[in-house]
């Protein structure tokens, strides 16, 4: 049986950053205990409705700031998961943490609870850039949190970095990359800052207070990163993700994210969490009080739905095939595998998407690899991913 992944959403932050449009809230701390109770209840309700005890091979605590809530709650949630699911021995359990919000004690408790991977929101090593993003930590906090994490026994650490920050130059970007590399992480995620509607950053840009870097500038930063990280032995396996080989020689990719890109099942618990199981997508209500209310007052429907669902979407065959392509092509190293497509859908990828594939090949946006068994983005395609993906929506 294919193991599932579980995503847990922790929508609490000490403060909301200027660019952030995630489902998270500052100043709602008093809701934390009842939220965690509801979360555990959701896990139990959905787990009970499941036709069997599913094996779980990845769990991801995202947010918000999961490191912001007391570790005991993380423990509680993991216990709830264990009671309903079979957490595999080698399961990857990731938690997102903010530098500055991690004390040695917290990290030790988390490690003991079973968390074995940390994703740290470093963003930049330049104080001015952090300030512009209204991040509350300093570059030194990053250093310290990694030291604490190592001490607590974390052997798999990711750093999130951001490029395309207003005022950032190639020099400062390289500085941030070097800073990150000097901390010797197993994994790096590099995201291009996007201006999301409704954020303070959006207002600043609209009013002309802040000027975003041009398409050419961010393209150069991205291309530089690809070449630079390769020199340091990193593999770019996804548009924004890089991994280093581990002791056993295997790439230490984020297996939880791979679940998304490989179009495999995941269950989402918590406010605004998304799930995907067989042909069903679920989306929970976003507001914390509403989430708690629905969990406590509504009755669950059939698995994999939850009383907290805001939307449940059934995908037809065509949509599934297109989505498979759309997410699979984000995997810049493996891409999509023809055989896997055939075994999933019983039809040939080349037949179904003949026109699209030929067009994208002719435009040098995708290429064959793995002895003509896989299709993936070219270097140009990585920069122009949307121009590829729009053929599959």
């Amino acid at each position: 049986m294919i193991p599932v992944s579980i995503y847990i959403h922790i929508p609490f932050c000490v403060h909301r950053c200027a660019y952030c449009d995630f489902n998270t809230y500052a100043g709602m701390e008093k809701w934390i205990p009842s939220y965690v109770d509801a979360l555990c209840k959701e896990i139990t309700l959905v787990g009970n409705a499941a036709p069997q005890m599913f094996p779980v091979h990845t769990i991801f605590f995202g947010g918000g700031t999961p490191s912001f809530i007391p570790a005991i709650f993380i423990q509680k949630i993991l216990t709830a998961i264990r009671s309903q699911f079979l957490i595999l021995e080698e399961a990857e359990i990731t938690l997102e943490a903010n530098p500055g919000s991690v004390e040695p004690e917290l990290l030790e408790t988390l490690r003991l609870a079973g968390v074995n991977r940390l994703s740290i929101g470093m963003q930049s090593a330049v104080q001015e850039e952090l300030s512009l993003l209204t991040r509350t930590h300093t570059p030194d906090d990053v250093k310290q949190s990694i030291r604490f994490a190592r001490q607590a026994g974390f052997e798999n650490i990711n750093l999130d970095l951001m490029f395309g920050i207003p005022g950032q130059t190639m020099d400062t970007w390289k500085y941030s990359l070097d800073f990150a590399l000097s901390l010797d992480p197993e994994h790096l995620s590099l995201y291009c800052l996007t201006v999301e509607e409704g954020t303070p950053l959006h207002q600043w840009v609209e009013k002309g207070k802040t000027i975003m870097p041009s398409e050419d500038e961010t393209a150069e930063m991205y291309e530089f990163s690809m070449d630079y990280l390769a020199e340091f032995g990193f593999l770019q396996y996804e548009i924004s993700n890089w991994a280093k080989p581990g002791k056993n020689g295997e790439w230490q990719m984020c297996r939880h994210n791979l679940q998304y890109w490989n179009y495999l099942p995941y269950l989402g618990f918590g406010a605004g969490a998304h799930g995907f199981f067989e042909n069903i997508r679920t989306e929970n209500v976003r507001a914390i009080p509403k989430y708690i209310h629905q969990i406590n007052h509504l009755i669950a429907q059939a698995f994999p739905t939850s009383p907290a669902n805001d939307r449940v979407l059934k995908l037809d065959f065509q949509e599934q095939m297109k989505e498979y392509m759309m997410v699979g092509l984000r995997l810049t190293h493996n891409g999509v595998q023809l055989e896997d497509f055939y075994s999933r859908f019983g039809v040939s990828l080349l037949e179904i998407f003949k026109k699209e594939i030929n067009f994208l090949l002719s435009r040098d946006l995708i290429e064959w690899c793995n002895n003509q068994r896989n299709l993936r983005l070219t270097r140009k395609g990585k920069l122009l991913g949307n121009q590829v993906f729009i053929h599959f929506v």
């Binding site: 924004s240 995907f276 979407l313 122009l384 929506v393």
Partner: protein
Amino acid sequence: MVIIPSLEVREMSAHIRNFCIIAHVDHGKSTLADRLLQLTGTISDRNMTEQVLDSMDLEREKGVTIKASAVRMMYTAKDGQTYELNLIDTPGHVDFNYEVSRALAACEGALLVVDATQGIEAQTLANLYLALESDLTIIPVINKIDLVSARPDEVAEELENLLGIPAHQILRISAKEGINVDQVLEAIVQYVPPPRGDIQSPLRALIFDSHYDSYKGVVAYVRVVEGVVKPSDMLRLMSTGVDVKPIEIGYFAPELKPTDHLEAGDVGYIATGLKTVRECRVGDTITHSQRPADEPLPGYQHAKPMVFAGIYPTEGEDYPNLRDALEKLQLNDASLVFEPETSQALNFGFRCGFLGLFHMEIIQERLEREYDLDIVVTAPSVEYEVVMRSGEVIRIDSPAQLPDEGLIEEIREPWMLLQIFSPTEFYGAIMDLVTKRRGIFKDQEYPATNRVQLNFEIPLSEIIVDFFDELKSRTRGFASMDYHFLDYRPGNLVKLEVLVNGEPVDALATIVHREEAYHKGQALVSKLKELIPRQLFDVAIQASASGRVISRANVKALRKDVLAKCYGGDITRKKKLLEKQKKGKKRMKMVGMVEIPQDAFFAVLRLREE
């Protein structure tokens, strides 16, 4: 059949007043009409939606009347007698001059409404001259006296100079506030002569407007000039010779109200059952088939389109919908012409002819708004006469139709008489604008204090794009204009072509004066460079005239376009963003391999902005 009128009917015509309201745009014609309807109880206050006569939303928004309309009001005057007042509404824009002239021909009198702050304007004069040509009795009315900026004394003086009516006798009203509107009704009864016309003569009814009704066919709005018409009569349209049996006759109350007869002096309607307004043209005369009149009423003209543009559906599959929509618009608008046209760049669409640029804008907006169509409208063109080396003369209304330069002896273009009316302080600004556009100054008049009317001759092609907006901005909105066709004159004209990645884009071609080709070519190329988004490859944009490249620019290939993050497995959101992007792409036109946004096709229109 001889009709013997009853005494009662004969008496009635002395109690009929047919009048119209003429005014410059925004001087308050529609508001005054509304007040008259209220005051005569034609429409109850409760049913009063503002500006009843302007029945189309678009008109209300633009503050102008597009289609004429008519309404019958019953008014008991101070003399104790009850009068039938027929108000005939006239279109308020220069493109519809012919329609205005026909509406005026249906009246004996006209209210000349002048804004108390603006004073006399170009269309006030243009319409006044039309009214005088139709021998109408003019009743000047100064409106909007309630405004703080009103200067009724000065305006009254202007009107006295213009009309010879003593300033103190001129009515001063506020239609909006209802001040002195009753005096207007009294003046109509007192000064507008009752209609004359022999009811014994063979029927002659003037069509001054029409609309299409899906049950009754074309409903002709008529003024019976002579004779009597009844629903049972067989009728004939004199210009086409078409005979019809009317479905219904009646008058406007203001809704259609059937009646058993209309007679000389009356204003009303005849529902003809005809399928298209083309068979029932404004200006035509209706007579009896059995006992036709010898002569039609004078003044009939076939309204000719002056401005042409291609209209294309953004998506090819909308072609049949666009055709249906144009056909439906044409039902009510005989002056709109169209025929299928194919463009290399835009595929299948229609070449449309309009009375003027304003008419074109209205059609464009109605297609988009009422018919929900995504369309591309190409740069407007005039109709050129091309004299070939062979001696043959051809007429073209699209740059794409222009033959090879080597075969052409001469290109002639239409010239207009342009009248601009403005406060004298903008004299220089106007002169500068017009001469830059190849206009020739003819003469000037000072019809009122501090007011000047400048008369020019100018190629039509120079005023159909942006001219009016430019005039308005240079004169802070004070100047107004009017224009009429003069003649065709030879011009030193060339075709300015745009090539995108080496392929000529026919829809972006224009015919320009040779001396301006270089400047316009450069401006066009830099505008297009702004508007054409970066694509998967470099896009070269060139402008060429007479086989020479005048200007070129490069749109660099797209460098980066990728969504970074898909948070917590939220595929749906990512998909939505991509769907939006795909939709935007679909709205663009493919020219060869290049995607060109609709905006680019308007670039030609906006060249003068910089």
